[in-house]
């Protein structure tokens, strides 16, 4: 049905030509779901844009052939391509909220496509748009017709994007990271929906993702891409059990799975023995009846509804939940960047909930509670070098100056594995993993007792996530820190944490030792979360 041969895509940039895709070939059969897996910069999205001929300015298909049902996609006239897009080949995108026109009713956006491909007339467009909404299982489709994207949840927006893509019954659907940025249960719902629709309509599909586990669960065949070339392709189970190429082996290793230890995320040659960390009986942090209420435009919003838990010294606690469950609010209150509405936070036996967040920077305990932020890029000052960033807390809170400061910064860089020559670079000159290391170095600079990690690996590729997680494990043992690890990813939490707290709608629904909660969840919500996580096929033991 689709046949790609030696496809190469290049971009003209100010610094010369960049080859994003360097000669890839594959075929797609009717009814087949093909997964393209790779990390950022591997050229997987560019491949799909090239097939649709919607490359950004400066991008061209440099060589090769792409044929869809006898049509030469590379040489077809733009007018013909416009007829093919949406009617023959459709696409759904990541970040669904941004993928919809923010100021046009979703119903009208569906109608635009229907009318464009002459699937509806002015008279029946509304009815057909509503039918398209029903097809993607949107409740109360008639009311949703008049909604604007900002009124809908992320998962709902992705359903609308699907409705637009599927409105004209295309025969090939390209899904470009369709669930990135969505909650894990929403991810499952969207992926199940897409798979069901593809099967029902006998369509073919290409699923582009960075998540090998997700691809393995939903695809018939997987292609692993790296730096614009296909390094391996084959059956998902085969790729997982016996990856041939070193890169796909690295990816398979780095994908968190049930029954693996944190060291096994790393390539075999980097696996060192895990340093033990000691959990004391004495609690370091005790939270009692913590509440946070925001004043919303339509009445008060209870973000955190009286939660209590305690964290022992040296313990690593995972705080798990989906967006809006109050986990970020809780962590911000604990790190004293936000004031609680009521409740107590005992830190080392002293109540710190009463100290206003605004003045906490001048409190001596500031150095003892630190945070690693979610987005490694946005949480670094773009005008500060790595050295300045790491030196900042040492200088302000630690009072270090001159040669002592310089020595300490270099010690910290070595500790987090940041090569010293990189210290004088600015954030935009560093890779994602290096920026994460800078953020961690800054947080541990003052040897805090308590470190809050707010999804520190959410924006990272899996192989880098593996390295950063292992770094965190090492640091925990070396510095004797207590962690609160905030995440939506249960697999990751299980690898790192001793104790897990599951939150939903501002309340704690379940907490307990990580192994117990994972293997024998009590609450229905925890079960749902666990069930929603993609389950990669078990790996055959490699000696």
């Amino acid at each position: 049905m689709l046949s790609v041969k030696d496809l190469a895509v290049s971009f003209q940039t100010r610094r010369g030509t960049v080859d994003a895709v360097r000669g890839i070939s594959f075929d797609l059969a009717k009814g087949e779901i093909l997964g393209i897996v790779g990390e950022s910069g591997s050229g997987k999205s560019v491949t799909s844009y090239a097939l649709m001929r919607i490359l950004d300015a400066g991008g061209t298909i440099a060589a090769g052939e792409a044929t869809y049902s006898g049509i030469d996609l590379r040489r077809a006239a733009e007018r013909d391509m416009r007829d093919i897009r949406g009617r023959e080949i459709s696409m759904i995108f990541q970040n669904p909220r941004a993928a919809l026109n923010p100021i046009r009713k979703v119903g009208h956006q569906i109608e635009d496509v229907l009318r464009r491909h002459a699937r509806a007339t002015r008279q029946d467009a509304r009815a057909k748009a509503i039918a398209a909404l029903r097809a993607v299982r949107i409740n109360d489709a008639e009311a949703r017709y008049d909604a604007y994207p900002f009124e809908l949840s992320g998962g709902m927006c992705q359903r609308i994007v699907c409705a637009i893509a599927l409105a004209c019954d295309p025969r090939l659907l390209i899904a470009d990271e369709p669930t990135t940025g969505l909650d894990i249960t929403t991810q499952k719902a969207v992926m199940d929906l897409v798979r069901d629709l593809i099967r029902e309509r006998g369509m073919s599909s290409i699923l582009i993702t960075h998540d090998l586990g997700l691809a393995a669960q939903y695809c018939d065949r997987i292609m692993v891409m790296k730096d614009g070339v296909i390094v391996e392709q084959g059956d998902p189970v085969q790729i997982f059990s016996a990856p041939q190429h070193p890169y796909s082996r690295k990816l398979v290793d780095a994908t968190p799975r049930v029954g693996e230890s944190i060291r096994s995320l790393l390539p075999p040659e980097d696996r060192k023995a895990e340093l033990p960390h000691h959990v004391h009986d004495r609690p370091l942090v005790e939270v009692r009846n913590l509440t946070k209420t925001y004043r919303g435009s339509s009445g008060p919003v209870h973000a955190v509804k009286g939660i209590s838990f305690s964290i022992k010294q040296g313990q690593s606690v995972g705080l798990v939940g989906e967006s809006g469950c109050g986990k970020s609010t809780t962590s911000e209150i604990l790190v004293r960047l936000m004031d609680a509405t009521s409740g107590e936070i005992l830190f080392d036996g002293h109540d710190i909930a009463g100290i206003p967040a605004q003045g906490f920077a001048r409190n001596p305990r500031r150095a003892e509670i630190q945070m690693v932020f979610q987005d490694a890029t946005d949480s670094l000052n773009p005008r500060h070098t790595a050295r300045q960033t790491i030196a900042d807390p040492l200088h302000r809170l630690g009072g270090l100056r001159g040669a002592k400061l310089a020595t300490r910064v270099e010690e910290l860089a070595t500790l987090v594995g940041l090569p010293l020559p990189l210290l004088d670079r600015f954030p935009h000159q560093l890779s994602g993993g290096q920026k994460a290391r800078v953020g961690i170095a800054r947080a541990v600079a003052l040897e805090p007792k308590f470190l809050i990690l707010d999804e520190p690996t959410a924006a990272l590729d899996v192989s880098i996530q593996a390295v950063v997680l292992n770094l965190l494990v090492d640091l925990r043992a070396k510095l004797g820190m207590t962690y609160l690890f905030v995440s939506h990813d249960l697999h990751v939490v299980r690898l790192l944490c001793d104790h897990v707290i599951v939150m939903k709608a501002g309340e704690i629904v379940e907490q307990g030792p990580a192994q117990d909660v994972m293997s024998n969840p009590q609450h229905d919500y925890t079960k749902t979360l666990l069930a929603a996580a993609p389950k990669p096929p078990a790996r055959r033991q490699v000696a």
């Binding site: 300015a57 416009r82 993928a99 635009d112 109360d140 637009i164 925001y294 919303g296 435009s297 339509s298």
Partner: protein, 364 residues
């Protein structure tokens, strides 16, 4: 968080029974709120304009008593003008008059300030609006074209035109236009006001000559007024081209690189739909903001154009009044402008809510 209320309001809106009243009600309230918000602004303007005019250097009494006046006659004039009373009393007299719609008497023209403003404000508005319509007519398409083909000749042409328009002072452009079209080519009429003396002023309805003449059906006068208007309007338009074209280009570039444009392209929508239905509507918001700003500064700053074309506008009126410390006229001018800006901001806010459904939901 507030999804419940949103859902219910969207359901309410799509209910077939009188959807307008449901949707219009919060909007009406928003309008009323915005108007109420402007009341303190107006009060502040009244106070400040009063105080500022009093602190101006120069003594109006001495000025109007004439060069040969002695102490006694100056004091007499001062008394006649009411300037001998304490400041606070003068203020209350002023506010009291204002309440009755009396802006006072202009000393230089000898007519009530309200009458002067009523004749001069429409002249300025007619000129400014025509210039802005002209300017938008050129700048917006130019900006769109430049954004769709960045780096092409259209883009460069846009840049050259914009730079030229903004770097040439208006009085210079005005004089060049007069020299070429009036003196050399003889196409344009003499640059002396709003209407050549061979025509009679149209009956006053709005004060806009073009509209009044059209209402009367007097097309001869209409043509005469249009001829007078075109050169000063072009002069102003050239000056206002730059911000509008630049903002259109920038906003379109941002809109065109958005994710939803990629979705639209992937759905096979036509170029026109993508460009105008999707990108331009999203780019409108910053363009409207710029337009409001341009409108306010042109209205205040077109004194030079009014002077060059002997246009009986509000800008030249204010400058003349300021020179002779004509308190009532200056206060009247400042107040009129303040009210105009308040109204303008209101219109722009309302345009926002019309363009972008997200605004209005979040407003408290």
């Amino acid at each position: 968080m507030s999804s419940g209320s949103i859902v219910s309001s969207t359901c309410a809106r799509c209910r077939p029974v009188k959807p307008v009243s449901v949707a219009a009600y919060p909007r009406l309230r928003a309008v009323a709120f915005r108007v109420a918000q402007s009341i303190p602004v107006v009060i502040g303007v009244v106070v400040i304009s009063f105080l500022l005019t009093r602190t101006l250097p120069g003594d109006p009494a001495a000025y109007f008593a004439g060069a040969a006046a002695d102490e006694a006659s100056i004091a007499e004039v001062r008394k006649a003008l009411g300037l001998d009373k304490p400041l606070i009393q003068q203020f209350f007299i002023y506010v009291g008059d204002l309440m009755q719609g009396d802006l006072g008497q202009s000393i230089s023209s000898g007519r009530p300030v309200a009458t002067d403003l009523a004749s001069r404000l429409p002249a300025s508005l007619e000129l400014t609006l025509t210039a802005l319509i002209l300017s938008c007519g050129i700048a917006i398409p130019l900006g769109i074209l430049a954004a769709t083909r960045p780096g092409s000749w259209v883009d460069h042409l846009c840049r050259v035109l914009v730079t030229a328009g903004v770097s040439l002072p208006t009085f210079f452009t005005g004089i060049v236009l007069i020299y070429v079209f009036y003196y050399l080519l003889g196409i344009a009429p003499s640059p002396l006001g709003r209407l050549d003396f061979i025509y009679l002023d149209p009956d006053r309805v709005t004060g806009f000559y073009l509209i009044d003449a059209a209402l009367m059906g007097d097309w001869e006068t209409w043509r005469g007024a249009a001829k007078q208007l075109i050169l000063p309007a072009i002069t102003l338009a050239l000056f206002t081209l730059a911000p509008i074209a630049r903002m259109t280009r920038a906003a379109m570039l941002t809109a065109l690189s958005s994710d939803f444009i990629r979705t639209a392209r992937a759905a096979g929508l036509s170029r026109g739909t993508i460009l105008y239905g999707y990108a331009f509507r999203n780019a409108l918001l910053p363009v409207v903001t710029t337009l409001g700003m341009v409108f306010s500064f042109t209205l205040g700053a077109n004194v030079l154009v009014e002077k060059v074309f002997a246009w009986p506008g509000i800008g030249s009126y204010a400058v003349e009044a300021l020179v002779v410390s004509d308190y009532a006229a200056v206060q009247g001018f400042v107040l009129a402008m303040a009210l105009l800006f308040v109204a303008l901001n209101l219109v722009i806010d309302l345009l926002y809510t019309a363009i972008d459904p997200r605004i209005g939901f979040s407003s408290k």
